[in-house]
């Protein structure tokens, strides 16, 4: 049989999906054991036991100085910034994406500007933001919004433009005015895409968050990683990276579940 026609069963699919993760874990364990055998005080690839010790210490033992559970307070600080920024970006993208997509005059006014803004490397703006907005939360949230919103606006405007012209004409023949068509025809059809656009921007959003926290913060997951970097504390950095990845994956899955739940029709007619 041709390889293109060989399909795994559900069980095999699950096994295959887990395989790369298991391989990575195995490779790490072997590498770590080899290095520790050479030099018991090696810090680069700590043993899994010392990693779990670190996780225990960070997550379940209160910090003697502040009385806080460091992992949770870091997570709360980072997620607060991230979700505030993503919420603002989504609102901006929805408003401007619909306007740019639907109204030719606003498209002529704004589309080239948004396209240019989305090309500015946001990290290059970070010093400006720190100078203008100070080192607090505002500058970090603004950085993420600047990095994420223009692309979401463009994505949404394109999606609006992709709606078949026939649908808009049909809505006009049903007596709809611009506002009604925006509300009842365009908005519901682009909302699923807005959620998908948000999912695609999770990666960049985390990137900007970590970058901002690395440079100036007193809490947050990125702050912690860059703080303990000075002591080569790989036993803290590894679990933090895994935790960040896990949070991002979970957000991604949740958003997709939300889309399918709220907009059941967006699942129909999709290629299986």
């Amino acid at each position: 049989m041709r390889p293109i026609n060989l399909k795994p069963t559900r069980i095999n699919q699950l096994i295959l999906a887990l395989l790369p993760f298991a391989a990575l874990l195995l490779a790490y364990t072997i590498g770590s054991a080899a290095r520790l055998a050479d030099n018991p005080s090696d810090k680069l690839l700590p043993a899994l036991t010392s990693i779990t010790d670190a996780v225990n210490r960070l997550a379940f033992v209160a910090d003697p100085r502040t009385g806080e559970y460091i992992l949770w307070s870091d997570t709360l600080a980072s997620l607060g910034r991230l979700f505030a920024a993503l919420g603002i970006s989504t609102a901006i993208a929805l408003a401007f994406g619909m306007l740019v997509g639907m109204l030719p005059y606003l498209r002529a006014l704004l589309a080239p500007f948004v396209a240019a803004i989305s090309m500015v490397p946001p990290l290059a703006l970070l010093p400006i933001l720190f100078i203008l907005l100070g080192l607090g939360e505002t500058s970090k949230i603004t950085l993420i919004v600047i990095g994420v919103a223009p692309i979401m606006i463009r994505d949404l405007a394109l999606r609006v433009l992709e709606l078949p012209r026939e649908q808009i004409v049909k809505a006009e023949t049903l007596g709809g005015n611009s506002w009604q068509i925006a509300l009842r025809v365009v908005l519901p059809q682009v909302l699923p895409r807005l959620i998908t656009g948000l999912r695609l921007q999770l990666g960049p959003a985390w990137l900007f968050l970590i970058a901002a926290e690395a440079i100036s913060a007193d809490s947050g997951l990125g702050y912690r990683i860059f703080l303990v970097r000075r002591y080569l504390s790989m036993d803290v950095i590894f679990p933090y990276v895994i935790w960040i990845t896990l949070l991002a994956v979970l957000t991604n899955v949740l958003l997709d579940w939300l889309r399918a739940k709220v907009f059941p029709w967006s699942e129909l007619g999709k290629p299986a």
Binding site: P164, E166, Q167, V169, K170, A171, E172, T173, L174, G175, G176, N177, W179, Q180, L183, R184, V185, P188, Q189, F263, P264, W265, S266, L268, G269
Partner: protein
């Protein structure tokens, strides 16, 4: 009554239509036929208001046509005529909601119940009873076009414009929807203009068949000479809206023979009623 006077349509340098003059009587069913790229759909877009004529005027009942699509002219396209995010009921209801609520575009309470009642009746009329809560993606192509018809008709438009509405359907399903289409035209105060490239469909349904053609179609002339009206045929026997027995079979249907097929041995409307027996020689 739709009056088209000396209409030209040009896209930049390219002339698509030239000197189109045409009067369409109220309650007529006009089929526009012609080869691909001869401007039938452009002409329909002019009637719809989606495009504007470069020269000439189009009037509907003496008044110039509004320059954008409006509720006086319903439309069914070959595809994308229904909204994928609304159920069958929601799709039909939408026109009512647009008309009644300028700001929220949603009906509530008694008004909503009345509108639902009316929508359900129309949905049943086009043969979709029982599918009210399905989404268009769950319907077959023929059912989607039935839905598109119901959705357009709830606005009670003066004119219904059809752009190859049944072109993508199987012959059997198409025959069924032809029966429905003729009944709707027969029972509703409606002028229908349909673009099709299926001659049989044109002559099955229409009261009048108008052929668009390019008198000069040599490659060098293509851009500079547009299409105009070739033939304008009144279908015989003459059909009049309201004059039909809605259950009578169509004169032409999907199982009647096509031009190149052997002729049917039975039937009342053939030119030559003499039966042809298999053994007879001519």
């Amino acid at each position: 009554m739709i009056e088209v006077k000396k209409v030209w349509k040009e896209y930049g340098d390219q002339i698509v239509l030239e000197r189109i003059s045409l009067t369409i009587a109220p309650r007529a069913f006009v089929a526009l036929v012609g080869p691909s790229g001869c401007g039938k759909t452009t002409f329909l877009k002019l009637l719809l208001g989606e495009e504007r004529a470069t020269q000439g005027t189009i009037t509907l009942d003496g008044k110039p046509l509004s320059p954008e699509p409006g509720p006086d002219r319903g439309v069914v396209f070959q595809r994308y005529s229904v909204f994928p995010h609304l159920t069958v009921l929601g799709n039909v209801l939408l026109g009512k909601e647009f008309t009644a609520k300028k700001f929220t575009a949603r009906l509530t309470g008694a008004a909503r119940r009345a509108a639902i009642e009316e929508s359900r009746a129309l949905i049943a009329e086009v043969g979709l009873a029982g599918s009210e809560d399905k989404y268009p993606a769950q319907l077959s192509g023929g059912m989607q076009q039935r839905l598109a018809l119901a959705q357009a008709l709830i606005m009670r438009p003066r004119v219904l414009l059809l752009d190859e509405p049944f072109g993508a359907l199987d012959p059997g399903i198409r025959a069924d929807i032809h029966v429905l289409m003729r009944r709707l035209w027969n029972e509703t105060d409606l002028t229908v203009v349909m673009v099709t490239h299926d001659m049989r469909e044109a002559f099955t349904l229409a009261t009048r068949v108008i052929a668009f053609e390019r008198p000069r179609s040599a490659p060098a002339d293509r851009e500079r000479y547009g299409a105009n009206l070739g033939s304008d045929i009144q279908v015989w026997p003459r059909r009049v809206a309201g004059g039909f027995d809605p259950d009578a079979p169509l004169e032409l249907s999907a199982d009647s023979p096509d031009r190149d097929d052997p002729i049917a041995t039975k039937g009342t409307r053939r030119d030559d009623p003499a039966p042809i027996s298999p053994g007879a020689s001519s």
